[in-house]
Symmetry: C2
Subunit: 194 residues, 2 copies
């Protein structure tokens, strides 16, 4: 043990890499751009990420979704109206800026880009997004149990509806950047969850 200490935190440099991958995608992200954004040299990088760019991307998918999912679960756990929280979560997409619109969903982008390129990586992204579906399912089931939801539709159907809405919005928001139009579209879709 002992030895020269790392000058960087792996978590932090992965966050920097996420910014690049999210913006341009996996293939278009060059090692040069990634290293520059991460602020470390090749020696350090290939020591910490033996699998190179692919390992970096894989770990970025996991770290990204773990963080977001934890935030969502925390917000739900302290909310007195989790259904409304989820609705607001969707509606708030309309209020973000153009850059965010263009980035879309980190996992959805990976699911699209990795299809027919790297099935293992695609599967990781798929399973991470399905974790969001699980959260939706349980919130919906709970709300139905508490008779706070009119819809008697099965929770898993409604949850997949929300996932499909999520996937759609993250493409559509790149077509329709008008805030008002986006909000109108999202709230129209959310009428199903009533």
């Amino acid at each position: 043990m002992a030895g020269r200490p790392k000058i960087f935190s792996e978590k932090e440099v992965i966050d920097k890499a996420i910014e690049v991958f999210w913006r341009v995608g996996y293939e278009a992200a060059s090692a040069e751009e990634l290293l520059k954004a991460m602020g470390i040299g090749k020696g350090s990088f290939y020591l910490a990420f033996k699998g190179g760019k692919r390992e970096l991307f894989e770990r970025s998918l996991v770290q990204f979704s773990a963080e977001r999912l934890a935030n969502l679960k925390r917000a739900i756990s302290v909310s007195d109206n989790p259904i409304q929280l989820i609705k607001d979560f969707f509606l708030s997409i309309a209020d973000t800026g153009l850059a965010k619109h263009m980035n879309g969903c980190y996992l959805g982008n990976a699911i699209a880009e990795m299809a027919n390129i790297d099935a293992a990586l695609q599967n990781i992204a798929i399973n991470l997004l399905k974790e969001m579906e699980v959260v939706f399912t349980s919130v919906i089931r709970q709300a139905q149990d508490d008779q706070e939801l009119k819809s008697t539709e099965k929770p898993d159907i409604l949850a997949r509806y929300l996932i499909n809405l999520w996937n759609g919005i993250n493409i559509s928001r790149r077509m329709y950047t008008d805030k008002f139009m986006l909000k109108e579209m999202i709230s129209f879709q959310l009428q199903v969850i009533k």
Copy 2:
């Protein structure tokens, strides 16, 4: 005039190129793979497509959507129930094979991949997909005029709902490849168009 004749049809080689771009995306499609699929050499290619890979992709977007859109319009024009035709159009997605699921939407993929990479190319894809929205809008408006639609929601809202459904499904179908589940999801979403 005169001169040695082309041994290929530009339309046909673009169709071959579409197969490659659709499967792996723009960045991941190498010139080598494209030329092999198109069945022509570099000399012929760079003479016919002076803009190289980028021009090929741009023309492929236009050719692809022109063809699909013409098919859709023709089917609508000869249908005695255009709304049902559109519903079936969506539902039939569930019946396609795994490879088709993985490919997603040619335009949607371009909208996602070209964001922050090539705004001009992305815009072309966006405007082509909006042509589909225009078709949906007019079919819905006509159906409302004919009182064949219960919903009194504005046609453009409903059309954008369908575009968002389309965008969503083309990501979701890569997550949920089960035919039954997909059909269930799509028909649930189509209840809005009633």
